[in-house]
């Protein structure tokens, strides 16, 4: 007999050790109650997700989701750009000597990012204006954000604004009441509100 086996001297002790303790049915209920208590916690949700992704179908779902998100992003980007170009090209030029080269540049530009700011000066000539405000999509069309300054000798109102690269719509509001487009820029009609605005491309 090996030394790690049970012999007659140890058998009574082992028999005694093998006796199961008296079972308390409430103890099992307590265990189940504690588990139910934990079930609503984040661990349970994480466990359910882990269980789901432990199957192969879970990874297929993730792959499909990623592809769908990429598709939506590309579609949205293409839609935004095409919308901007469409609205810009529909408007006749008021001043053909002005911004036509800008649009040509826009059509070839595939890096209309918004991560850098470029200073752009806006001017408008008005002899009888008391005050002029610049509104646009870059300041949420808020007339209080950008007030123009007057050059007394030339009756020209001007302001320089830091704009993110891209195509922007804008307009001037003269004397807090008159909506005026920039005569030196392209104009576009907002499809939703029917208001005419000017266009500027910042590169």
């Amino acid at each position: 007999m090996q030394n790690d086996e049970i012999d007659s001297s140890l058998q009574p002790l082992v028999d005694r050790l093998r006796e199961l303790p008296e079972s308390d049915p409430r103890a099992v209920k307590r265990v189940l109650a504690r588990i139910r208590q934990y079930d609503g916690r984040p661990n349970a949700r994480r466990r359910a997700l882990r269980r789901y992704f432990s199957r192969r179908s879970g990874w297929w779902a993730v792959a499909a989701l990623v592809l769908f998100a990429a598709g939506v992003t590309l579609f949205a980007r293409a839609a935004v750009l095409s919308s901007a170009y469409e609205s810009a090209t529909l408007i006749p030029l008021v001043d053909s000597g002005g911004p036509t080269p800008v649009l040509l540049a826009a059509e070839n530009d595939d890096s209309l990012s918004t991560d850098r700011l470029v200073a752009r000066k806006f001017t408008i000539k008005s002899l009888d204006a008391r005050q002029v405000a610049l509104v646009g999509d870059f300041n949420q069309w808020n007339p209080r954000r950008h007030r123009l300054h007057r050059d007394g000798q030339t009756a020209t109102w001007y302001i320089t604004v830091q704009l993110p690269a891209g195509l922007h719509k804008y307009a001037f509001i003269v004397n807090d009441s008159v909506w005026t487009t920039d005569p030196s820029a392209l104009r576009t009609v907002d499809r939703d509100f029917g208001v005419t605005s000017s266009l500027v491309l910042v590169q």
Partner: protein, 205 residues
């Protein structure tokens, strides 16, 4: 003589029932259902394994309350981790690995607690006082197990009481199979010595 016995000493009659065998394990279907989140199957799992777990924890910790706490914690952890259980491993070995870890943590906590409450410890330490012919009293069991190191006790109980294989115990304890054999062997030798000493003490009285 009887009056002088410690309060915890309890004689076991000669005609006591045969030792209880290790209860049947849970069916594979129930186990898989529990793993897939079936609460009824999990309740069945708890009912099946609770007594064995309590027995193991009680022998390791020598305290019913601490053992129950550990077993409850263990089943909460089992419920959280059951989806990770893989069928190639015996379920009771997996379960006892969690339980043994929990018991080790509890023992460390109890040891620290006792350092600050040594007076209480003196009052509850079981004393081996006697052995009635053909019987083994609970005090003697505690006394015998107290002579083993924590690792020896755990290995002995898992091998000869819970019926795990040496490979399973090695996985539970995180050691090599030969080391487990050594621990069980030393535990058996130590227990034989303790029983012999107790018999000699009884003859001298």
């Amino acid at each position: 003589m009887t009056a002088a016995r410690p309060r915890l000493l309890r004689a076991i009659p000669n005609d006591r029932p045969a030792p209880v065998d290790i209860p049947a394990a849970l069916s594979r279907e129930t186990l898989l259902s529990a793993r897939d989140g079936d609460s009824v199957a999990f309740a069945q799992l708890v009912r099946t394994y609770y007594p064995r777990c309590l027995r193991f924890a009680q022998h390791l910790l020598s305290s019913r309350e601490d053992a129950e706490e550990c077993v409850q914690d263990t089943f909460v952890r089992v419920h959280r981790a059951l989806h990770r259980y893989e069928e190639r491993e015996r379920f009771d070995a997996w379960l006892f690995r969690i339980l043994a870890n929990r018991c080790r943590t509890a023992r460390r906590r109890l040891t620290r607690w006792r350092l600050f409450h040594s007076a209480d410890l003196d009052r509850v330490t079981p004393i081996s006082a006697s052995r009635v012919d053909g019987f083994v009293a609970r005090d003697e069991i505690w006394h015998a197990l107290a002579g083993l190191t924590e690792e020896q006790r755990e290995a002995f109980l898992l091998r000869h009481v819970e019926g795990l294989t040496y490979e399973d115990i090695a996985a539970v304890a995180g050691i090599a199979v030969t080391a487990v054999r050594m621990r069980v062997s030393r535990a058996c030798a130590r227990l034989r010595e303790t029983i012999t000493d107790t018999d000699a003490e009884r003859r001298n009285r």
